[in-house]
Point group: C2
Chain length 336, copies 2
Amino acid sequence: MGEFELLARMRERLPRTGARLRLGSGDDAAISLPGGATATSVDALVEGVHFCREQAGLEQIGHKALSTALSDLAAMGAEPGEAYVVLGVPADLDEEGCLQLLDGLAELAAATGTSLAGGDLTRAPVLTLTTTVVGHAESASDLVTRSGARPGDALVVTGELGGAAAGLLLIRDRRPGDVPSLGAAQSALSGGTSDALVARQLEPQPRLEAGRALAAAGVTAMIDLSDGLGGDAGHLASASGVGLRIDASALPLAAGVADVAEAAGVDPLQLAVSGGEDYELLAALPAGKLEEATAAVGAAAELRLTQIGEVTRGEGVEIRRPGGELLKATGFDQLR
Amino acid sequence: MGEFELLARMRERLPRTGARLRLGSGDDAAISLPGGATATSVDALVEGVHFCREQAGLEQIGHKALSTALSDLAAMGAEPGEAYVVLGVPADLDEEGCLQLLDGLAELAAATGTSLAGGDLTRAPVLTLTTTVVGHAESASDLVTRSGARPGDALVVTGELGGAAAGLLLIRDRRPGDVPSLGAAQSALSGGTSDALVARQLEPQPRLEAGRALAAAGVTAMIDLSDGLGGDAGHLASASGVGLRIDASALPLAAGVADVAEAAGVDPLQLAVSGGEDYELLAALPAGKLEEATAAVGAAAELRLTQIGEVTRGEGVEIRRPGGELLKATGFDQLR
């Protein structure tokens, strides 16, 4: 099957969702009708750097490529619009494999109301997925950047943390010969909990509804947690010119994280702080809006919103245990 | 230098052109203020597939990555807006190399009024540049697709053809031991002509002004010549549901193409028809608008507009020599 024929077969599978898309894949460019402002983000997943085909199915890889890109739109509070995907296809991936990747992309696109509006195929030495996502808003002021947090704001996080890192430990433990062995954790966890942790790693969900609810509720700054709470909080603090004080005991750990951490001999809080890839949203907002924001996120996305700290006049990020001990947000690079 | 530090250094070099860009690189997403309709295209250059670092400088590679993407916007008649670039960086490319790539991108961005609005860096086994470009128009009907050509329309092409393919032959000839040897051509060509052919291959120019002039002059269908006239004309014919009859003797060959072709023992018309990468524009338009379109392209871009054929009720593409002999538009794959 040639490139053009494969592209044609891929186009047939694309869901044509989204009223904004006027002309999809197949011309020199896609045509869309934007809102008053657009938010655009690009993201790449490279085999051997961001994923291994031994650990994730092709549909999951497709899902994750779009999910991590859409997570950036969630962090802007944007309405998802169009996605464009460039597939770098290695010699050992056949056309059926390309279509499986597309199925993973297309399923998430349909679920989120995103139009797969275009893309490209090229040969490449390893499987590479580069995704561009475009989100919309009525005006630029409706979009939330990282830079508006003010001293005194409350710091909140959606959902639960540490699950993706724990899931990665479980996945790696499945490979024979790897250490540490998490047999203790595997037997302590119910199958459902274990599967949920693995899914947090392999099939993250972009928090689009929560992001829009938070934007509407008046958050002053927002970022998605891709690198890990410690690092991403640092980006938000730096962009806003403020400090962040985080109470480690307030962090909402995902079910099973404590068990996996214990079996692996690591601190569960480190999984939450430095593990990364939870793709939850971290936001700052005036304390008086906390209640409204919590209700809005619950109603829009059935997600918890947890206050984990506050914005200060200082700089940088302090994450402290209840006794006041500073929890280091570094030194967990072996997970990445 | 870490990824974040390199990204910060790269951001410092970005020209902040374009009134539409409200927030550039450094947040979760860029924010722009679009027109009534947007044209979006993605394109990838992969080392070993689309370029070799032995044959092209890093600035030239950066230039070409943006240029080939912008060429798709030219073919829509769109106003260039924003570009987003994902760099896949191999282990043997240092930070200085990344900045050279960016310089090539930034120079063309500034020259075309394109904002380099965002991007990403990742490790990769070979150098990879994935570029997303967004163009704007007042309304979707101002953008030109491939699908509107009507029987009786004139078929026109901007500029000159075959130069990029001839340039590639000259570049390859510089490598010792390669055949065919183009010594005869090299000595027949002036240095300026030879350099111009090489530049056509390594530093193609997107025909943005010409594309907008043609759109304003009422072309019915347009495509940029990336794969070669034969293939791209086929795409336009297929999308429009028409046939195209092209007069090979009318093709505007770039200066020096005949000399290079003769030395290489190939048909110069094949370089024009199948060589590809000229990034000129092929368009259909009512014959009554030819004069106005020619004047508009000359005024906007100082480029020739040449009628090379016409749109018919048939299907497919016929390229004929003056005597009526069919010129095959295939069989030149060794150039790609």
